[in-house]
């Protein structure tokens, strides 16, 4: 909304992308030992790690559902994930996002298999650069599959929006702060279901249609990256599970 030019005369965005390009995305499944399932995602400058525990007995009895499992997401920004240090403790924004991600993920599981249980999903944002709820949801869905939880389909998630009056895909932080609109979408390609949808800013109904279509197509692309990550994990020799980045390893011995 300030007078920064976000798309240059050649149609390129501040980081060189075209209007319909995603930032680079890298997904890895099974990155933690203790969690029942886990995933790590790098999405542009976003870095997020997700751990899943469950289905396990729900401690707070009054929240148990007699006929199904519930999903409890804890989405959390690390104090060092943003420019100005974030104070510890869950703020209102984090609570809202935790709620809508819980609801989205609950849709994707076959929940009546595990009555009275909870599936606990911890989304730790280590570095944030706009789009963390979509990146977190994408990684959380992989982590749930990694935990062996029966699902109707993986959720892929991506935002589109409007910048300099133009509909674009996958806003980065500069675009998110100064752009015209943001439209995060969570989508299950296998069932064509929309499980997350938010929007703020200013879109005509026509712009909405276009933006929604962009996001949905991107989700199909992201879905493939999710499958690749899971395939890679499950085709590995289990003993090498945590062998990423062996270069950094050092040994102390007596």
């Amino acid at each position: 909304m300030d007078n920064v030019q976000l798309i240059d005369d050649n149609g390129k965005r501040n980081d060189g992308r075209g209007p319909e390009d995603l930032r680079p995305i890298k997904i890895e499944a099974g990155v933690l030992n203790n969690a029942d399932g886990s995933a790590y995602i790098e999405w542009g400058k976003n870095k997020i790690i997700v751990g899943v525990y469950g289905p396990r007995e729900m401690h707070q009895k009054h929240l148990q559902k007699p006929d199904r499992a519930i999903v409890q997401v804890n989405y959390s920004m690390a104090s060092f994930s943003v420019d100005e240090r974030k104070r510890p403790g869950q703020g209102r924004r984090e609570l809202e996002i935790s709620k809508i991600l819980s609801e989205a993920l609950e849709r994707s599981i076959i929940s009546n298999k595990y009555p009275r249980t909870s599936i606990d999903v911890f989304i730790e944002v280590l570095e944030a650069n706009a789009g963390t709820r979509c990146a977190g949801l994408t990684a959380a869905s992989v982590a749930m599959a990694d935990a062996g939880i029966p699902m109707t389909g993986l959720i892929a998630s991506c935002a589109s929006g409007k910048v300099d009056g133009q509909v674009v895909l996958d806003l980065d932080k500069l675009e998110d702060n100064t752009g015209d609109a943001d439209l995060p979408v969570g989508y299950i390609p296998l069932t064509d279901e929309v499980v997350l949808l938010q929007m703020d800013g200013h879109l005509t109904p026509q712009e909405f249609d276009k933006a929604f279509g962009l996001a949905k197509n991107a989700c199909v692309e992201i879905h493939q990256l999710q499958r690749d990550a899971l395939t890679k994990k499950y085709s590995q020799d289990p003993d090498e599970d945590n062998g990423e980045d062996q270069a950094g390893e050092e040994v102390v011995s007596e």
């Binding site: 100005e84 439209l183 929007m199 800013g201 929604f212």
Partner: protein, 259 residues
């Protein structure tokens, strides 16, 4: 909304919806009656009491002075809160309603903020140092569904009658809060195949998904929020957008007629 709704009731709601009807006699696309009282409190700088069917809320606005947020040094401040107090429903208690009240207040706030309805820049007094702080507090007295729309309507009414008490702070004459184009939200639920506008408490309790759409006077989108753990199809969304633009116009007229 934490009631256990028996399966029979769910079936009844779906059966009625199949023939375009609802438990309270409305059609699927019919909003409930809106009852409006304006400036009901002497202690608040702006206030309103809104009844949307049996949902009953009160909105109070206090205007004070504050220091602008460091990332918005030239803007006044708006803070929106929704209190789901236990008076409003037997199932409400401070702990369990927190996520729900945060979601509602953030969706209401987003609609008001993104529409530019309040010219926050005009509420800055000294860049980075001093500004007007508008506290918009919504208290739910009786709950029967659709708090987002009731809260949005109540907020618009209360804000548009708000007096900035500048003289109390030695900052010149009092003035009316500068109000521009109003955002109007409409909320839908999906139950089975059916899309119902303005859900009651029972309808929310059995709904698969919820969708709120906030539009401006030009019929453009300003905010959206999907809720609940069911899914929507794209067609559900476009259908809801269409209804929202139409119903939003009617509600906007009612609000403005009262000015």
């Amino acid at each position: 909304m934490k009631d256990i709704v028996p399966d029979l009731r769910v079936e009844q709601i779906k059966r009625l919806a199949s023939s375009g009807k609802r438990l309270d006699g409305r059609g699927l696309e019919q909003f409930r009656d809106i009852e409006i009282q304006k400036n009901v409190l002497g202690s608040a700088e702006g206030s309103a009491r809104i009844k949307l069917g049996k949902t009953d809320i009160i909105v109070g606005i206090k205007v004070g002075m504050g220091q602008p947020y460091s990332n918005k040094p030239d803007h006044g401040m708006l803070a929106t809160s929704v209190e789901l107090k236990p008076i409003a429903h037997h199932s409400f208690d401070q702990n369990t309603t927190k996520p729900m009240s945060i979601e509602i207040s953030r969706v209401v706030d987003r609609g008001i903020r993104e529409s530019g309805m309040i010219d926050l820049k005009s509420l800055c007094l000294e860049s980075g140092k001093k500004c007007w702080m508008v506290n918009l507090d919504i208290m739910v007295l009786d709950f029967d569904g659709n708090l987002i729309d009731a809260s949005t309507i109540g907020s618009l009414i209360a804000l548009s009658g708000t007096n900035v008490p500048a003289s109390n702070f030695g900052m010149g004459k009092d003035f009316s809060l500068p109000i521009g184009d109003m955002p109007v939200s409409t909320t839908f639920v999906k139950i089975g195949e059916h899309i119902l506008i303005d859900p009651t408490g029972v309808e929310e309790a059995v709904a698969d998904a919820r969708l709120t759409i906030t539009t401006d006077a030009s019929g453009n989108l300003r905010a959206m929020q999907k809720g609940l753990s069911g899914a929507l199809y794209y067609e559900d969304v476009t259908k809801a957008i269409e209804h929202s633009i139409k119903t939003g116009k009617d509600i906007r007229e009612i609000i403005q007629r009262r000015d």
